[in-house]
Symmetry: C2
Subunit: 285 residues, 2 copies
């Protein structure tokens, strides 16, 4: 369903009522209340819903997760910093649906921030943060649509994360996830530099050499060659879930809508924090 | 002068009064008031002061600056994210001078945060931010010494930055500086991976290919081979300034103490913001 976010609720519910399975653009909804209405319609009609966060389906993402789960090499996750920004031209900033309050009202937060929030939740095994605090200095256009913002997230166990999203700065898409023992790093998480292969850097128990003039061991770069673009992997995953329902009588899989809902909850909290003048906002699940 | 920060004021003033030039460990002082006392003693006695932020003297740092100043390729600086963390063992966390309130009372903020703050000021041409807001979730030990913290910085022109420093997570030292047109990135800014060469990545006017399955152009990696470790470059710079005073009758150079003072001002503001419960603190020069 490739429609402006404002139209998602109406059309997603209609699609579900027609018993059609639903692969939807992100953000799924304008807020979690609308999100829940959409998912309820899908559940009532026995159809699958999955959001179109394509990088989740790249084989690299699965390999990186193995490193994050390696207690020996990575340890316990402590910090994630994520950034997804791209530079848009004056025409975009005047006319694109993503700067219009009646179309994609969540602006850069919905379009780019969604990926950053998802990357943090992904690294944190989808454990929701306790508190979200938007960073000072968010940029909104005259209509109140976010063009650039960031936030810090805090978990009850002391984990922390930040993300930054923007329509106003050069194309940048970094994740740095830092554990007690290791660091995961990549700079093209949303759309890899190349279709045929994708890399990330893993640093496990790094330290300095004796004279503190270099690192030992050096971080290692890992490259995954891929047969299919991540978008194809995403559609294949969706088709498998739909097949399970159609051919095997399975119920719609709740893994993806659960992850989508958490992303939407954090997104809502960032927006609320900006509206409250950058005060901390508690996540209520 | 390799002494715990608490002893800097007393010994730095005595050294200056003995007409000895002063290459001091960072942080230079516990706060900007002490800093100013030290610099006053140096000025009154005609001696040079420079702080030991060694990565500032690496040839790579100068090359990266050229990219940041390239209006065509990098554009206008908008955002900097900097991170310097390292994992310390239980013995460090119990006994190191950097966790003792009567020795290096600024903890991780003074030891690692100093470099992060400096990297942001360096990228911003040493223009001071207007406001500093510490990020929620700072970790302090029982004696009140900072073990892990971060902050967001805001400038009057809309520039923004964040940094994170820690004794509690794996060795990580990234700078991402994002302009309107380009991005500068490196992951070993304080101590390069190797002594003989050092790299950074420059991305200039990046975009996507036609099918949005890759980037065009790809970021370029730049490697600088070096003759001397950055510590030697630092001492050489200091020696040159001292020679200018001794042999040519020059006055002490104010470039480095001015940069040190700005670093100390931001550091003070981060500390004040943590003490005020993560409220924004205005920088008063």
């Amino acid at each position: 369903m490739p429609l402006p976010t404002t139209l998602h609720l109406k059309w997603a519910v209609l699609i579900a009522q027609k018993k059609k399975h639903l692969l939807t653009e992100k953000p799924v909804a304008l807020n979690v209340a609308e999100f829940d209405e959409i998912v309820r319609a899908c559940e009532e009609n026995g159809v699958q819903i999955m959001d179109g966060t394509m990088w989740m389906h790249h084989p690299r993402t699965h390999k990186m997760k193995e490193f994050l789960q390696d207690k020996q090499r990575f340890g316990q996750l402590k910090t994630v910093n994520s950034c997804f920004t791209f530079f848009t031209d004056p025409d975009f900033l005047k006319n694109d649906i993503r700067v219009k309050p009646d179309l994609d009202a969540l602006g850069a937060l919905g379009d780019a921030g969604w990926y950053g929030i998802r990357s943090i939740l992904w690294a944190a095994d989808y454990e929701l943060p306790k508190t979200v605090t938007a960073l000072q200095g968010a940029v909104l256009n005259e209509a109140g649509v976010i063009l650039d913002c960031g936030a810090s997230l805090q978990w009850e166990d002391g984990k922390k994360a930040t993300f930054h999203c923007s329509f106003l700065t050069s194309l940048t898409m970094n994740i740095t996830a830092i554990g007690t023992h290791g660091t995961l790093h990549l700079t093209d998480f949303v759309i890899p530099y190349q279709e045929q292969e994708a890399s990330y850097t893993a640093s496990a128990k790094p330290g300095f050499n004796e004279l503190v003039t270099g690192w030992e061991p050096l971080p290692s770069e890992h490259t995954i060659t891929v047969d299919l673009p991540q978008e194809v992997c995403m559609v294949r995953e969706f088709a498998t879930l739909v097949q399970n329902i159609k051919k095997k009588g399975a119920k719609p899989d709740m893994k993806w809508p659960t992850i989508s809902r958490k992303t939407q909850l954090v997104l809502d909290a960032v927006k609320a924090s900006i509206e409250k003048g950058f005060e901390p906002v508690e996540i209520v699940n």
